[in-house]
């Protein structure tokens, strides 16, 4: 009798913990399902979610069956540097398929999605430093196509393992969209935190090295830093595209995301007027293999690949452009040393609103010089 009672109690406990784990699993699946629905809902011709497959869907909806002339594929340096309006004024139909944090490892999927729309050109944005960098960054959100490309090009085992791990982890959509959800929830959290009394004045904190610093105003000598930031355009400043979302980061930098896929940075921060040294040490072969793999993929789908060497803020050092042009299996448009004063940079990596217009005009001219 005692034994029976003990066995039945043990079974009941076994059922309970199995139920507990089952419910947790169900809860996580429901969260994933909710995110999937939300992401689908967010993607329309006028809005998108910042990941490669979602923005590819936005691109397809936005173009509405029209064959684009150029699709720009790249990272935040493409996203913030390309002004679609400038190209449209020059008679080009373009799409800005740049996504923050997406690098060469994410390009196979993006290049494929872009080439599937049969554009004349698919332009891949890369930086000069990436050619020689011995480490390819592990992507936070790889796709299966990216993973296949890594295996096909014989990438280092560490990168393969880490990317495979990321891909597996991202099957859980909550993990995949965690950054996006974080970005969405933070403003909500801040709105809820209602001040109950005005904040007292506190002495200014001394500026540490590496802290955000204001850029010199246009015309000011480089390297002389005024005490106050360059004026940041007020909300409502004219953009060359229709905004669907406006964000402001803690330092006051404004980001405007547009319905056409562009995103614009306003302001100028962290631009310290210092040169950034670079030493050309030849190619990092795995990087080159991956880049050429993407270019071949574009060509195989009937589009013409182009490589854009993105502007590099205050580059000091030299590089072998002839060797790059020889090794890369596509035309290379070199903007590494394109003259852009500090005031046109939002930070040392990205151009601001004014900078992107200058750069886009020059890029449109470079494309016009390519055979159509």
């Amino acid at each position: 009798m005692l034994r029976n009672s003990s066995t039945s109690n043990s079974r009941r406990k076994a059922r309970r913990w199995a139920l507990l784990l089952g419910l947790v699993l169900l809860g996580l699946l429901l969260a994933d399902a909710a995110l999937l629905l939300y992401a689908r809902h967010r993607i329309s011709p006028n809005s998108y979610v910042e990941d490669a497959p979602s923005k590819a869907e936005h691109m397809r909806l936005r173009l509405g069956g029209k064959r684009p002339d150029i699709v720009f594929v790249g990272s935040s340096r493409t996203l913030h540097h390309i002004s679609s309006a400038v190209f449209e004024q020059a008679g080009w139909t373009v799409y800005n398929y740049g996504i923050s944090g997406h690098q060469i490892v994410n390009y196979p999927f993006m290049a494929g999605a872009a080439a599937d729309l049969k554009p004349t050109y698919v332009a891949l944005g890369v930086t000069i430093s990436a050619f020689a960098n011995p480490d390819i960054a592990v992507p936070s959100r790889p796709t299966l196509a990216d993973l296949k490309a890594l295996y096909a090009t014989g990438q280092p085992l560490g990168l393969l393992a880490a990317t495979t791990g990321k891909w597996l982890a991202n099957l859980h959509l909550l993990n995949y969209y965690s950054q996006v959800v974080n970005l969405r929830l933070r403003p909500l959290f801040e709105r809820l935190d209602v001040p109950l009394a005005p904040e007292p004045r506190r002495p200014a904190k001394p500026v540490d090295q590496g802290e955000r610093r204001a850029a010199p105003a246009p015309g000011a000598a480089a390297g002389t830093l005024p005490a106050q930031a360059a004026p940041v355009p007020a909300p409502g400043d004219p953009c060359d595209c229709t905004p669907f979302e406006r964000l402001t980061d803690k330092a006051g930098m404004r980001i405007v995301k547009c319905t056409n896929g562009d995103a614009i940075l306003f302001g100028s921060f962290w631009v310290d007027g210092k040169d950034r040294s670079f030493t050309w040490k030849g190619f990092h072969e795995p990087y080159l293999a991956l880049l050429n793999h993407c270019l071949d993929l574009i060509r195989a789908r009937g589009a013409r690949p182009v490589v854009i060497l993105e502007p590099f803020h205050r580059l000091r050092g030299d590089y072998d452009l002839a060797a790059i042009r020889k090794a890369v299996r596509a035309p290379v448009l070199d903007f590494t040393r394109f003259p852009l004063p500090d005031a046109l940079w939002a930070d040392p990596e990205h151009l601001n609103n004014a900078g992107r217009l200058v750069f886009s005009r020059a890029l449109a001219e470079a494309f016009a010089a390519l055979p159509r």
Binding site: A14, L23, G27, V181, R202, K205
Partner: protein
Amino acid sequence: MYPLRCPSHLNPAANMLFNSYSFLFFFLPVAFAGYFLLNGKHLTKLSRLWLVSCSLFFYGWWDPGYLPLILLSIVANFALGTVIGIATEHKRKLLATGICLNVALLCYYKYTGFIVDNVNALLGADIQIAPIVLPLAISFFTFQQIAYLVDSARGETREYDFLNYALFVTFFPQLIAGPIVHHAEMMPQFRKLRNLVVDHANILQGLGLFTLGLAKKVLLADTFAIWANAGFAAPQGIGFAQAWTASLSYTLQLYFDFSGYMDMATGAALLFNIRLPRNFDSPYKSASLQDFWRRWHITLGRFLRSYVYIPLGGSRRGTPRLLGNLFATFLIGGIWHGAGWTFAIWGALHGLGLVVHRLWTMTGRRLPPLAARALTFLFVHCAWVVFRAQSADDALHVLSAMFLKAPSPAGLTLLPLAAILAGLAIVWGLPNAREAVENNKSSSLGATVALAGLACASLIALEIRNASEFLYFQF
């Protein structure tokens, strides 16, 4: 230099924390399945070896470079303990050698930088040393092994085999941040036959504790950390309300963080049928400072009492000596927490507090219970300000804003106020996690569903915020 506050050399993305998906969905299930699979086939030695290997893998995940150090420490201490146990002569010398070696190792990694900084400051010297990275958990495994050596000399260690000893030191639930387990309570558990089979009651209780710990860490501690960090980042000119917000947030953060970790450790150990000693028992409900140290980091208090306070003479040599021993024990306890003057001051404050409490007790007077609780909480809370501040100056800024500035709500916002009130209600009004899962109703359907909801909320919050580290990591 202040590992408690900033284990910055650790890359959070690469760490396998209890509150990380890699631990929850990969490491723990694999370790659990492997252990009981081997036990099911009666390969008990192999199953213990599996658990040691898993624990070393868990440790090495942070920095495999320190695996040789922990292995060397285990082998050397086990060998020394065995020799001390069987030696008939020179026991004390052998023991002193063992203790000195352990303390020297701890001092080298933990205090070299601090000592050099102070020598430079005092003598105006410019001694430069390469930065020394503190190996994870060195404070914990050093203390555990010192206890083992002392007990070997006392003849209190039994016939332990090396595998059991290695498992006692490395067992992953307690390896990183405690509790500071004692060989006598752990090693018999590894040999117990009943512990080698899956126990559904323990699994249910373990999952319950783990879930409550995860929720305390992710939902509560990490939230309070936002306001605590904001306040302590720039304490100069901090206002009255902001100082109270930051300090109370830290008091709550520290409790939820550390006790949450302990709940997770205890829960994870229970899955393997191992019962870790209780380390927290609603400490903020304490009615005296002595009571507080019976409820806060209980295993540290136990270690300090058995291996510092009593060897110093305890209460056997008259009142002045007793008071001196109390103070010295807590000063050592403070220094153990970290290489910095704030930790030493914090330890000294607690030592002084206990001295005053002892003197007060001798008068035979008693405070009303509510006043005693309030006073104890206030003292502990103020001492945490010193513990958390980057320097004694910073601590003074915060404390003076709390007590010397005119009370004003300026700078107060809704969320921290509501959260602090809720946090205080939890620590003062609700049973602690262990009491909750030991309650008869904890295995009811309603409790299971509630736990599942809490686990989901914690896992979702965890994903969104990304894993953050436990405060006690490098102690």
